[in-house]
């Protein structure tokens, strides 16, 4: 018994298996978590090596180069980049996507172990750092306060951070911008001088007077008691009364030479939110934890946390990355639902039968739900890729059921009993149905083998569509005949009674369409030359269109967030930076009413942390984070607003460099065009970089043309005269410590209160550390107590800090990076950059190459080209075996050509660049459009076998297959409509694919219906093969 016969004869088993699949799929769905992208391991490893005291050039020569030469052999490595700056070498290794980074870091560890002995003394052990998605902040919380501002750090640390850390999956919570309490002992150097005291002495006294030492234990009677000396400060004011020295019989106390204040630390960073002083809490997740789950847990906890805080403290969510994720997923879910609805309407329109429509549409949920089962077993998530795959699969799953049900209906019309009609109707077409599914698999299975970054996007897509379409075929040969056997009845033509009245105009329209098409086809087939010539014309136009559509890598996404970071001149202090920041902030608020929150961070945090390793941190930096209103409440996109910001920032001459872009856009963002200048000589390469920068600034659409090699920064350097120091009796280290303690301060001890510790810092009062003279007037003291002014033993020179030396693939490099303006495709800027590179005259030993996203794009496009060839070949093989013919598949493939023309036409009309996403849509079209061709050619063959003459066969077949072809095409076109219109958040990503598929499908269907029959008739492909005459028995 065949599978379809079994399912018709055993409806209960069939239904229960179906229910089982639905239940299991539903269960899988509840277990899936929601995320934006599939779990991606960012393929970077970084080796950080400290070599204190070495200059950038020394670091380059002795550390970075040694590391580079040896790390070059690490497997799967794509690129090796290093930057050598004073004291530190950073070597970054970029791997192929999908590389196992644990193995790679083991390999790196082996290499480092082997070469460590080659490093000069003083080089510290290199540290391997792995980037991971967990470093991306999940959420930013803000807190603003009035009365409690001074103590807000402690409040937040105790009441908020601790609670947040208890949430499952929360990695780290950092507080930024909060003032920290500090006990300052501000010294007057003139008084010190008068009493011959040093800062170090005061520090020593404070440290020695603030002690608690256990003194052992004693047996007293029958008890053993611990003894402890306790001399810790209870009040800050106690410091004032400490005796530092006896001077001339007088006790000199701290208050005589300094004033002690219990205050907050001098801040080098100022954070505001919508103009109000605020504190930011940055929450990171643990590796592998789910963003949406964490964000939900935090949001649920917030009211509880607010209740524990004083009433003037306001705690809120500044930015929640999960909002974008959930909104994207919700809008995609909506897209899938609309696609479902449209598909149902199209089927109902053509079939005009409720029962048939229900039977066909039931295969949709059954097939789609298996995708959830696959996702659960493969450890996937509901992300924009898996959901978009579902929305694409949705339009493909109904085709098989339509073909099968159509044939069953034919038997019913001949008055067979429903069960027999179901069994024999399926029997006649099931092999053809499987063959068309094979053509789809020929397209989507190769997708699962795509490598690189594109693979991360398209592997799940390939798997999901392959699995779902396979299941849909199984459903079409089991579920569909079973349901047809029990639900379908023989029915006369429409009676147009009651609700059925709506079918009257539809039927009339469809009949007219049939006749019209038959007449048109008749004309076309009889005017072969004109038809074939116009086909050739269309082919030429499509090549023209191809060159007119600009190229892009990834569509830019609107994430509702604009990040701006600005560098001001190096000599700006915090006040100047803040003043500038406020001025610009006011302008932003005025220019961009779309801003919901504007967080400003001026200066840099002292601790620096992770960011300090890579960025330039100084008090001269400002960063703005604009959180925009919801997409539906604003007219301008993120990219348009970024251009507004750029135009404004360009007006300020004091801005040295700036970047504008969303923080999350790293991987999926529109990217940059990088021009890399390789060469050893700094001056030469810098000059070329400047020249290219100037030229690129002229290019329309190019924004933020920055050079990676910074201008030299100024510093004041104290240079000691060792001779003089030696004569005076102190060494350089002691002298340098003296200078540091007076300016930066000496942390003498800690003040304990309520279990918290606060630093006690001794240094010159602020008024005595404001000029070069103040430094020169610092008094050094030797062991004999003799003092000497710094100016006697040292000079201060103003100098430049040598730039960071960047290298790539073992060569020095400087990069000119160009960002893209709103709606400017990557390809346009890349072409301009190529032109600039061609014009640039380079001396020997200097090479200039184009890199950045362009490189990724070219690689991805090349991969796609290869994939396209593979897909075409596989599809051809599947069709050739199905028809057992070399030539017929070629006729069908004409529809692929039209599909590409349609893609370029649609992209050109909608002004959408050809991105990787659009390209993948074009590749998918190969599988989708050949179906139409297969239906037509197959039926024409059938008519020929039945003995019809060629022209008649072609027209009969065309006329009878018009509706099925239109039905499958229109389900695809309308099903893709929601994706192409792209209303929701995150829809920009798949919009080009929707547009490409609709354009290709429409154009290809219209032309396939006319051209394929004509070509068939012209070459008379289906003619009966002449039997070989050998050994043939003649029949008289």
């Amino acid at each position: 018994m065949k599978i379809y016969e079994m399912s018709v004869r055993k409806p209960i088993s069939t239904i229960l298996i179906l229910v089982g699949v639905l239940v299991f799929g539903g269960y899988s769905l509840t277990r899936l978590s929601v995320d934006l992208y599939p779990d991606i391991e960012i393929p970077y490893l970084t080796v950080i090596t400290a070599y204190p005291g070495a200059s950038a050039a020394d670091i380059e020569q002795n550390v970075s180069r040694v590391l580079e030469n040896n790390l070059n052999s690490v497997s799967n490595m794509k690129r090796l980049v290093s930057s050598s700056r004073e004291n530190t070498s950073i070597v970054a290794l970029e791997f192929e996507w999908g590389t196992n980074l644990d193995e790679a870091s083991n390999e790196i560890r082996d290499v480092i172990g082997r070469i460590e002995s080659q490093f000069p003394d003083g080089v510290q052990t290199p540290m391997i750092l792995k980037f991971s998605s967990s470093m991306m902040p999940v959420m930013y919380l803000y807190a603003t306060a009035e009365e409690s501002y001074g103590g807000i750090y402690k409040l937040l640390d105790e009441r908020v951070v601790n609670s947040l850390n208890r949430i499952d999956g929360v990695g780290a919570v950092n507080i930024s911008g909060a003032p920290e309490r500090e006990i300052q002992v501000n010294v007057d150097p003139k008084r010190l001088e008068a009493f011959r005291i040093t800062i170090e002495q005061i520090g020593q006294v404070i440290a020695q007077e603030n002690l608690a030492i256990p003194a052992g234990a004693m047996d007293i009677g029958s008890e053993r008691l611990a003894i402890r000396t306790q001399a810790e400060f209870n009040y800050v004011s106690e410091i004032n009364d400490l005796v530092v020295v006896n001077f001339g019989g007088r006790e000199i106390r701290v208050r005589d030479v300094a004033h002690v204040s219990d205050t907050i630390r001098t801040m080098t960073v100022r954070e505001t939110l919508n103009g109000q002083r605020s504190v930011m809490m940055i929450i990171q997740k643990q590796s592998g934890a789910n963003t949406v789950d964490i964000a939900n847990a935090i949001n649920a906890m917030l009211p509880e946390l607010r209740a524990t805080l004083p009433p003037d403290v306001e705690l809120g969510v500044l930015f929640d990355t999960s909002t974008f994720i959930t909104n994207s997923i919700n809008s995609l879910t909506e897209t899938v639902m609309y696609a479902f609805l449209f598909v149902i309407l199209v089927i109902l329109f053509f079939l005009g039968r409720w029962r048939a429509t229900i039977i066909i549409c039931l295969t949709i949920p059954v097939s789609l739900i298996t995708a959830f089962i696959y996702l659960m077993f493969s450890g996937g998530t509901l992300n924009i890729i898996s959901l978009s795959s579902l929305s694409i699969a949705l339009v493909l799953v109904v085709d098989d059921a339509i073909v099968i049900l159509e044939n069953i209906t034919k038997h019913l019309e001949r008055k067979a009993r429903p069960k027999d009609a179901a069994i024999y109707g399926t029997n006649e077409v099931w092999l053809a149905v499987i063959a068309t599914t094979l053509t789809l698999l020929a397209v989507f299975l190769p997708l699962t083998m795509v490598g690189g970054m594109a693979g991360i996007l398209f592997q799940p897509l390939g798997w999901i569509i392959a699995i779902v379409t396979t299941v849909s075929t199984v459903a079409a040969v089991t579920l569909t005949p079973m349901l047809a056997a029990y639900m379908m009845k023989y029915k006369n033509a429409h009676t147009y009674k009651g609700l059925g009245i709506v079918f009257k105009p539809i039927d009339a329209f469809l009949d007219k369409l049939d006749h019209g098409y038959a007449r048109l086809l008749n004309w076309v087939v009889n005017h072969k030359l004109i038809t074939l010539l116009s086909t050739g014309g269309i082919f030429v136009v499509s090549i023209l269109l191809f060159s007119m559509v600009p190229q892009d890598f990834m569509p830019a996404q609107d994430q509702g967030q604009v990040e701006v970071s600005i560098d001001l001149p190096v000599n700006y202090n915090l006040e100047q930076t803040v003043a500038f920041a406020e001025r610009l902030e006011a302008r932003f608020m005025e220019l961009i009413p779309e801003i919901k929150y504007l967080a400003v961070s001026s200066g840099a945090s002292d601790q620096g942390g992770f960011a300090a390793l890579f960025g330039n941190t100084g008090v001269n930096g400002v960063s703005y984070t604009m959180i925009l209103k919801d997409r539906k409440d604003r007219n301008r996109t993120q990219q348009q607003l970024e251009d507004v910001v750029r135009a404004e920032v360009d007006l300020y001459p004091e801005v040295t460099t700036y970047t504008v872009g969303a923080s999350m856009g790293g991987m999926m963002g529109s990217g940059t065009v990088d021009i890399k200048i390789f060469g050893f000589d700094f001056d030469e390469t810098t000059a070329i970089a400047k020249e290219i920068q100037a030229k690129m600034r002229e290019v329309p659409g190019a924004r933020e043309v920055n050079i990676s090699r910074e201008d030299m920064r100024t510093e004041m350097r104290v240079e000691f005269d060792r001779e003089k120091l030696a004569r005076f009796g102190i060494n350089t280290a002691t002298a340098a410590t003296f200078v540091r303690n007076r300016i930066n301060g000496l942390t003498a001890s800690v003040f304990r209160e309520d279990g918290e510790e606060y630093n006690i810092v001794v240094r010159y009062d602020e008024e005595f550390r404001g000029s070069v003279d103040d430094i020169l007037n610092i008094r050094l003291m030797n062991n004999q107590g003799a003092t000497i002014m710094l100016r006697e033993v040292a000079t201060i020179v103003e100098d430049f800090i040598p730039p960071v030396i960047q290298r790539e693939d073992r060569q020095r490099v400087v990069t000119v990076s160009v960002a893209l303006g709103d709606g400017v495709p990557l390809g346009t800027i890349a072409n301009a950059a190529r032109e600039v590179i061609r014009e640039t005259v380079t001396p020997a030993g200097v090479t200039v190459v184009l890199s950045g996203s362009v490189e990724d794009q070219e690689n991805a496009f090349r991969d796609m080209g290869l994939l396209l060839v593979l897909v075409l070949l596989l599809v051809y093989i599947v069709m050739a075996t199905q028809f057992e013919s070399f030539s017929q598949p070629l006729i069908i493939m004409i529809s692929v050509l039209f599909a590409f023309t349609g893609v370029f036409l649609a992209l050109w009309i909608t002004n959408t660049p050809l991105s990787l996403i659009a390209l993948i849509g074009a590749i998918m079209l190969v599988g989708i459009v050949v179906k139409n061709g297969i239906i037509i050619v197959d039926f024409t063959n059938l008519q020929r076998e039945r003995g019809l003459p060629i022209n008649e066969a072609v027209i009969t077949a065309g006329k009878s297959r018009l509706r099925p072809v239109l039905m499958t095409s229109l389900t695809t076109i309308f099903g893709m409509m929601p994706l192409a219109i792209g209303a929701g958040e995150g829809s920009e990503m798949w919009q080009p694919m929707g547009i490409a598929i609709i354009g290709g499908m429409t154009f290809s269907t219209l032309l396939t219906l006319l051209v394929v029959p004509t070509v068939y008739a012209t070459f008379n492909i289906g003619r009966a093969k002449k039997e070989r005459k050998d050994n043939m028995i003649e029949i008289e």
């Binding site: 027999d420 063959n941 039945r946």
Partner: protein, 97 residues
């Protein structure tokens, strides 16, 4: 005794079997899949790509009166579902086991 040979579109299978049961015709031989074409009109049943339908064929030997009733019933059936195709032939049986 008459031998009745019926060749009909496969999807009439169950209907014919029900008819046999109803008329209490016990003995028969059936070829589940046969191919053929009608003498006058109708589509061929070749089970090929061009003509995908197939026939079933029954050969049954029965009393004369039953054969007459059967033929009548078959005629009525054929009139209802002419497109499925049916032919029936009756001849005399000379001897049997």
């Amino acid at each position: 005794m008459k031998a009745v040979f019926i060749s009909y579109g496969q999807s009439l299978d169950r209907t014919i079997m029900e008819l046999f049961d109803k008329l209490e015709i016990r003995g028969f031989s059936r070829w589940a899949e046969t191919i053929g074409r009608g003498s006058i009109s109708g589509e061929p049943h070749y089970g090929t790509h061009a003509w995908p339908t197939k026939n079933s064929t029954i050969l049954s030997v029965m009393e004369d009166e039953k054969a007459t009733i059967l033929l009548e019933k078959l005629r009525a059936l054929n009139a209802q579902a002419e497109e499925l195709g049916m032919s029936a032939f009756v001849w005399n049986v000379e001897n049997k086991l």
